[in-house]
């Protein structure tokens, strides 16, 4: 086998892959326990829901610390180059002739915008969900539904509900792109951790995402 075929570039290290898949399990548990009862499947959902919510909150806290201290935090933040490249891509899509979009660094502009959207929604869910914990008994505290007025609780529930429903839309788009044939090279890296050297050179700008090849 030629060396070029065995080149590996690490895209997602094991802690990040574990974070992704445990978060996926937590989110699916939260969606199931939230919406299946509404759709008519009655079961005792509250305990599983708040436990999965605490797991998600803990995971997100760890992710924020890890991304800030150990990962390249700015790799997920849209840059001027991303915006310029996105503008070029829009121009091409509508038939204008012009310079080609730049290759992205580790993440494309659309991935960064998706991450921004899902992060905002998940943080809002965690914030409002954390406040809702005050309305249920847990092993650590007794419920206190009078902490806020009925109207304030209604607003918190409305934000939580709208964000939860928007997760459905965002998750559908996420899974759709993960399963598209031309994206499988990237999706596989969320399982095995690496992409091939050929995919690295084809889909990324090495100056914007400099990587040593050789695998984890």
């Amino acid at each position: 086998m030629r060396a070029a075929e065995t080149e590996r570039v690490v895209r997602h290290r094991l802690p990040d892959r574990l974070y992704h898949w445990i978060m996926a399990a937590a989110v699916l548990t939260l969606l199931g326990t939230a919406f299946l009862p509404i759709l008519g499947w009655k079961f005792e959902w509250v305990t599983a829901h708040w436990i999965a919510g605490l797991v998600l909150a803990a995971l997100v806290a760890v992710h924020i610390v890890r991304a800030s201290l150990w990962l390249d935090f700015w790799s997920i933040v849209p840059s001027y180059e991303d915006l310029r490249s996105g503008w070029r891509a829009i121009g091409l899509a509508v038939g204008h002739r012009g310079p080609l979009p730049l290759k992205p660094g580790k993440y494309s502009l659309l991935q960064k915008l998706y991450h921004f959207a899902i992060a905002a929604v998940i943080l809002a869910l965690i914030g409002t969900g954390g406040m809702m914990l005050l309305k249920i008994d847990t092993p650590w505290w007794r419920r206190n539904p009078y902490w806020l007025s009925d109207h304030a609780w209604g607003v918190i529930y409305a934000i939580h509900d709208l964000c939860a429903m928007s997760v459905i839309t965002l998750l559908m788009a996420h899974i759709y792109f993960a399963l598209r044939p031309e994206k499988l090279w990237m999706s596989h890296s969320m399982i095995r951790g690496w992409i091939s050297g050929a995919d690295y050179r084809t889909h990324h700008d090495p100056t914007r995402w400099p990587q040593q090849q050789g695998g984890e």
Binding site: F35, I38, A89, S108, L110, D150, H151, G154, V155, Y157, A158, H160, D161, L162, M165, S166, I168, T169, L171, M172, A173, Y176, R180, P181, E182
Partner: protein, 62 residues
């Protein structure tokens, strides 16, 4: 008005759910679950639109 879940009331295509307080005044409960199919439909619409665009353009890259 469509009664649902005991004291909870939902209104078709309303954005919010309300219940009646003991004084007969509306009390906000949260977002209306009648929006759920719209969020699901938005996901389906996006997927169909993107897949159709890709099929028409024949592009394998975004």
């Amino acid at each position: 008005v469509t009664p649902r879940d005991g004291d909870r009331l939902t209104y078709p295509m309303e954005l919010l759910r309300y219940a009646s307080s003991v004084y007969g005044q509306p009390v906000l409960l949260g977002a209306s679950w009648s929006l759920l199919p719209w969020f699901f439909g938005a996901g389906v619409a996006f997927i169909v639109a993107h897949a159709a665009y890709k099929a028409v353009t024949g592009s394998r890259e975004p």
